[in-house]
Symmetry: C2
């Protein structure tokens, strides 16, 4: 049984919060960003899919460890284009997403679809796009999470020759953007090949997202499992190199009965823990979106104050150019003035050298907009009213609340 | 129940073989060694205790992991001077050996006792000798194995200040000479402190002797045990650095009932495996002694042939010194002659540069003994008759036999 079924209310909530954030952004923050050219200075405008995108779970591992079977187990049904078998089977990156119309979309069409978060992938070229598809189906689990199935890692020549694109670079792209990386091993293929090692090395930057799965753990007896598990940890410690031990979930992640069942209770607990972890992703992702929007709004406010202050400081007729240079070089004086007059914490200000660099690329400061209090007030209201309202919709443990607060007040 | 009880015959055999080797050495090989000054060239005369010494098992680990309790468990009784407790208790290196008279012998007396293999330890001085004792008792297990209990490793200042001797150097001495190193951890103290790390680093040269014990494994539940065990392997892999995974025995090594018993069967199997490993030590050690003696006899033979050849080549009256120099510089010609005339494999010859160096320290080659065929024949008979007879006394798996043969014919 798919595990998300147990709380359909939550799913609804996260969709509502995401949609709420999108609307608030469009109506209250975006106008300020546009007025003060925030996108040229800091970061591009947020798309709809930045709000609606589901948390992504990336599955990585040697061929035949059971990645595709794992997804099938969670979905409790086949997805379009699914292939499972003892030989290397999955030959493409497959994004498995929720949609009322079941079917597959080829990579070239995917990367031009503005409603999907895959547009940047076009840079990996056709050799990759021919090996990238989206598999769509209507499935409750997919209402909250997107899975990325990947081709199994082969060792030696085969890997290099067969693929026409840079496998590890693509992997890295997904690792940077996903919310969880499941690194799968099975008890019969523990050897970490050079290729697998290279793959793990590109994941390392996102090591906080990594969880290890030791699959097919019921196919060996208890003592052999201890050996295998120990050997895995022995070599993973060396490859991942972090002092913190990575969480490993030991079990058999498919619906067939266990072969050796002396560890049944352990496997059940481990499966539960892993599912709990995956279940927490929508909430974590929503909290992250909320958090990012708050940070963005604070930055946009300070940005507007700085830029309008620069505008006000410009002479109306002569000496524009030398004044511009002076303002850039003594930007810290502008920061100090803004800070004093508007009582804004220093941590909200953009890094001074990056700001100076951006300003050097702007020719005419007199084209900056003077201070528009209405736009600012709109953002203040968003922070004081809309965001707390959205936040209160999320069912929270105290812990997550505190964490969020400490992050946003930094 | 002590585990060696199950095969009292074996114990007898190994004692007999060791005694046989000692007698054969004394009567057949030693005369040849003495006649051709083997001890000045290659290695000192073998003592009685080189034959009679039991295989040594060294226990190492943080304080309170249960090293002393482990020994008590194997012996099934207390040994003189035993101290067990939750605080750092064992404060000395304790050699636990078999003897009809129970009692302890202090370090200073131990290192002058020619019947014990501890004489070289005097070099570590009084601060160490005051912390070194031999605990003697009559115990069946000790008829085949000697245990070395060690003070638990403390972390931080305490370790450095309290001990007046170089703990790691002493540890290294024992590690070089013992047959098995048991590195103990317990589930509640996994953190590898800097001090423990340094200790493990000196053991690393003998990594083939190391076995890990994860003790008190019944004091946590199944899932927690997996976490703890995984974390141990994670950090051990990094500290030991070998690609081969070290064997870890998971269990509770004392006689009290288990706390969490979902792993009972696993613990029983692990205990059995560990005991089997320890039980194999007397045999391995005996085979090693046999092997060493065969190698030594072959070297002693070649040595006698070389030295007597040098003697024969010396002029009787004039030009002794220049001839001596010539012989040393063209030693390879002597090697070739000996090889040709006596049909001896090249691998039996001592390294030519080391032999030249030794010869440069010998002033008068005319004092070398000429070839004594009787002495040589005695050694040949020893190799052809006595040694095979002793070897056949040892109950062998085919594997060990083949291994030994391939080693001695190299
Ligand atoms: N939990 C499990 N226990 C035992 N066998 C399993 C388990 N999960 C999958 N398998 C079997 O392992 C084989 C490989 O499964 P699957 O195709 O899902 O692996 P994969 O990691 O997706 O491989 P690839 O990288 O080639 O796509 C199949 O034969 C499948 O039936
Ligand atoms: N298998 C076990 N399960 C639970 N507790 C144990 C076990 N073995 C020993 N203990 C307890 O752990 C404590 C430490 O035991 P012990 O003195 O044998 O450790 P040690 O490693 O020799 O310590 P030290 O290095 O200080 O000599 C004692 O209280 C003992 O009763
Ligand atoms: Mg697959
Ligand atoms: Mg002790």
């Amino acid at each position: 049984m798919p595990f998300w079924k147990k709380d359909p209310v939550k799913k609804e909530i996260f969709t509502n919060v995401a949609e709420g954030l999108r609307q608030v952004y469009k109506s209250k923050l975006l106008p300020l960003e546009e007025a003060y050219r925030f996108h040229e200075f800091h970061s591009p405008q947020l798309d709809d899919c930045d709000f609606s995108a589901k948390p992504m779970v990336l599955l990585v591992g040697q061929y035949s460890v059971g990645k595709t079977t794992f997804i099938r187990y969670l979905l409790n049904e086949d997805f379009p284009g699914i292939r499972i078998g003892p030989e290397p089977t999955t030959d493409s990156f497959i994004a498995i997403m929720n949609n009322d119309h079941a079917g597959t979309i080829p990579g070239n069409a995917l990367v031009v679809d503005p409603s999907k978060p895959f547009r940047p992938l076009s840079k990996f070229g056709n050799a990759f796009l021919n090996r990238f598809v989206c598999s769509q189906l209507r499935n409750e689990v997919l209402e909250t999470v997107t899975f990325i199935d990947t081709p199994g890692i082969l060792s030696g020549e085969k890997q290099r020759v067969d693929r026409g694109y840079e496998f590890t670079q693509v992997l890295e792209w997904f690792a940077d953007r996903c919310d969880r990386i499941l690194l799968l091993f099975d008890v019969s293929s523990l050897d970490i090949s050079d290729e697998l090692k290279r793959a793990i090395e590109v994941l390392r930057r996102n090591d906080d997202k990594i969880r290890i799965v030791l699959n097919k753990a019921d196919t060996v007896d208890h003592q052999a499992l201890m050996r295998v598990y120990g050997a895995l940890m022995w070599s993973l410690g060396k490859v991942l190199g972090t002092p913190e031990v990575c969480r490993v979930y030991v079990g058999s992640f498919w619906s067939k009965p266990l072969q050796f069942d002396s560890n049944r209770r352990l496997f059940e607990l481990e499966t539960k823990d892993l599912f709990d972890d995956l279940e927490s992703l929508p909430k974590t992702a929503t909290l992250r979106k909320l958090n990012d929007l708050i940070k963005r709004a604070r930055l946009a406010k300070v940005h507007a104050l700085i830029v309008s202050e620069l505008r006000e400081s410009m002479p109306s007729v002569f000496g524009k150019d030398s004044k511009r240079k002076e303002l850039i070089n003594k930007l810290h004086l502008v920061y100090e003035k803004v800070q004093r007059e508007h009582n804004i914490p220093l941590g909200d200000f953009p890094k001074i050298d990056r700001m100076q660099e951006s300003l050097r690329n702007m020719q005419d400061f007199t084209k900056f907009k003077i201070l528009d209090k209405k736009l600012l007030e709109r953002v203040d209201r968003m922070l004081a009213e809309d965001v707390p309202k959205l936040m209160s919709m999320i069912p929270q443990e105290e812990h997550a609340f505190l964490q969020l607060q400490s992050q946003t007040t930094q």
